[in-house]
């Protein structure tokens, strides 16, 4: 366990090594949040009386919580695995007495911890000072936290799978970019999933993206019945299991390829 925690520590250090990058990252969150805030406020203000699936306050809550969440759910696992495979560095990792996946996971935990302290917390304080409306449904918060943890796991497994694609692809950035775009829309990190047209919503039911932002953010910000909370958590659990299976398969196939090619 100790050795894995060392990796978490590396993750924290790596993320905090460049003060300039940390500052820029934080500013970028604010830049993004302010744009979202201005856009949704203006949209609701200019369309008074129009029937919209969400209220103004509900939408703003959603957007704020989603942005705070992104500060530590977002990860660079894909890029890191891609690089390790491309440079052949992964072979060095495999000879160590540790599980590669666990190593990546704990490193990511470190990065997320840094993200939590450096971005999510200050952002929350800043918002608490500027936006004086209640942000969360406190009675649903325990479920919300559980849902966030599941979302974190799903996000990690998803990134692991995509990262491992580098075993089979020469250039990985187009795939990453393509998926990032799909992810941005379908996860609900950009536009609340409740506003999706029917077709998109239906497609989304069969994809894991919704489980990363839309579900946890909804549970935290929107009052829901116990039943629907439970079923949403069930959906997340199901995705976690499915993705875990796929990640296992991908990992073993990739490893085999590595051994055959000799790194």
């Amino acid at each position: 366990m100790r050795k894995y925690l060392d990796y978490s520590w590396i993750g924290i250090k790596e993320h905090t090594a460049y003060a300039g990058a940390v500052r820029a990252n934080f500013v970028s969150k604010i830049v993004y949040l302010y744009m979202q805030f201005a856009m949704w406020t203006a949209l609701f203000a200019s369309n008074a009386g129009k029937d919209v699936p969400m209220s103004r306050d509900g939408t703003l809550r959603y957007v704020i919580v989603a942005t705070i969440l992104s500060a530590f759910v977002e990860c660079d696992v894909i890029g890191r695995i891609n690089q390790q495979i491309r440079t052949g560095d992964i072979a060095n990792r495999l000879i160590r007495p540790m599980d590669f996946r666990a190593m990546v996971f704990f490193r990511q935990l470190g990065t997320s911890a840094a993200g939590l302290v450096l971005y999510a917390l200050p952002l929350t304080i800043l918002i608490a000072l500027l936006y004086r409306e209640p942000l969360v449904c406190s009675e649903q918060l325990p479920y919300g936290i559980l849902s966030v943890l599941l979302a974190y796991l799903i996000q990690f497994l998803y990134s692991l799978i995509i990262g491992l694609m580098a075993f089979w692809l020469i250039v990985t950035w187009p795939l990453n970019m393509l998926l990032a775009a799909i992810y941005k829309l379908l996860s609900g990190a950009w536009i609340p999933a409740a506003m999706f047209p029917d077709l998109l919503a239906k497609i989304n039911l069969f994809l894991p993206f919704r489980a990363i932002y839309a579900i946890p953010v909804s549970i935290i910000t929107t009052p829901m019945s116990q039943d629907s909370i439970r079923s949403e958590l069930g959906v997340q659990l199901l995705w976690a299991v499915i993705l875990f299976g796929i990640a296992e398969l991908t990992w073993h196939a990739g490893r085999k390829k590595l051994i055959v090619q000799g790194g």
């Binding site: 201005a38 369309n47 941005k184 506003m195």
Partner: protein, 267 residues
């Protein structure tokens, strides 16, 4: 003639290099198309739920930001990649090689690449530009058409100047990647602000978008003038060429002094 011939050479070389990696070129184009396509899809999803933003209809907003995007895609086609690579070129010392060529370093870097990854953005912008324009029934006449073209050119100059400006910072071996990302990142960059009418932002941000990083003059103000939207002052509709000129001078100045600094300090 000489430059055209050189450009043809460079493009052939660049594309040959790309094609060495089998289908990656096609894959990149598809990925870019989907990325930009999804941005438009998201935009349309928003306007399925709402009719207008700050008094601008969906098609008006579309027309406004595709005007800006057209210029942006073209500008990036030439300047984005060279300026993005500046930091790396200077840190690795490879910039020296450009200084020993009979073609100036800026021209050389612009010519030697062919950033086809901006073509999907350009094509999609043209599509939505035409689509939105056809729904708007703008009363074009020779004068407004000419003026629109002048503004488009100004937008190109403004975008290019900002890109060159950020690239030139690398001469002082300052890491400019973060600034570039803060400005143009597709998710959270400041440039995205001008995809919507700037009246939705507060005064400080509007000032920033007008006079510090003048993205607002690449689409919003000229189009607002064309569509007869209220302006803070009537002259805002006519300021783009002036802003473009000032940006150009500033970028040229920073580039030359950066080059001078490099010449005197090395990397």
């Amino acid at each position: 003639m000489y430059l055209l011939k050189m450009y043809r050479h460079f493009v052939v070389i660049y594309m040959k290099g790309k094609l060495a990696y089998h289908c990656s070129l096609l894959f990149e184009l598809i990925a870019n198309t989907i990325q930009i396509g999804i941005y438009f899809a998201g935009f349309l999803v928003i306007f399925r739920n709402f009719d207008n933003i700050a008094g601008w209809s969906r098609d008006e907003v579309l027309f406004m930001f595709t005007t800006s995007w057209l210029a942006y895609s073209l500008s990036c086609f030439f300047f984005w990649s060279p300026m993005k690579d500046m930091g790396e070129l200077i840190r690795s010392g490879k910039f020296d090689l450009y200084l020993t060529r009979p073609i100036g370093p800026m021209l050389y870097m612009v010519l030697q690449q062919f950033q086809y990854t901006f073509i999907p953005r350009l094509v999609l912008s043209v599509y939505f530009w035409i689509r939105s324009m056809s729904k708007l029934s703008i009363a074009w006449n020779a004068q407004s058409l000419l003026w629109y073209a002048v503004n488009m050119l100004s937008a190109f100059v403004i975008f290019s100047s900002i890109t060159v400006f950020t690239g030139s910072i690398s001469f002082w071996t300052v890491k400019s990647e973060e600034i570039v990302s803060l400005l143009t990142n597709n998710n959270y960059g400041l440039k995205n602000y001008t995809d919507y009418p700037v009246t939705i932002y507060n005064k400080g941000v509007r000032f920033l978008l007008c006079f510090i990083v003048p993205y607002a003059f690449t689409g919003y103000y000229p189009v607002a003038g064309l569509l007869g939207k209220p302006l803070p002052h009537p002259c805002f509709a006519y300021l783009s060429p002036l802003i473009a000129f000032v940006s150009l001078v500033a970028a040229k100045f920073l580039w030359s002094s950066g080059l001078g600094h490099y010449n005197s300090a090395g990397a």
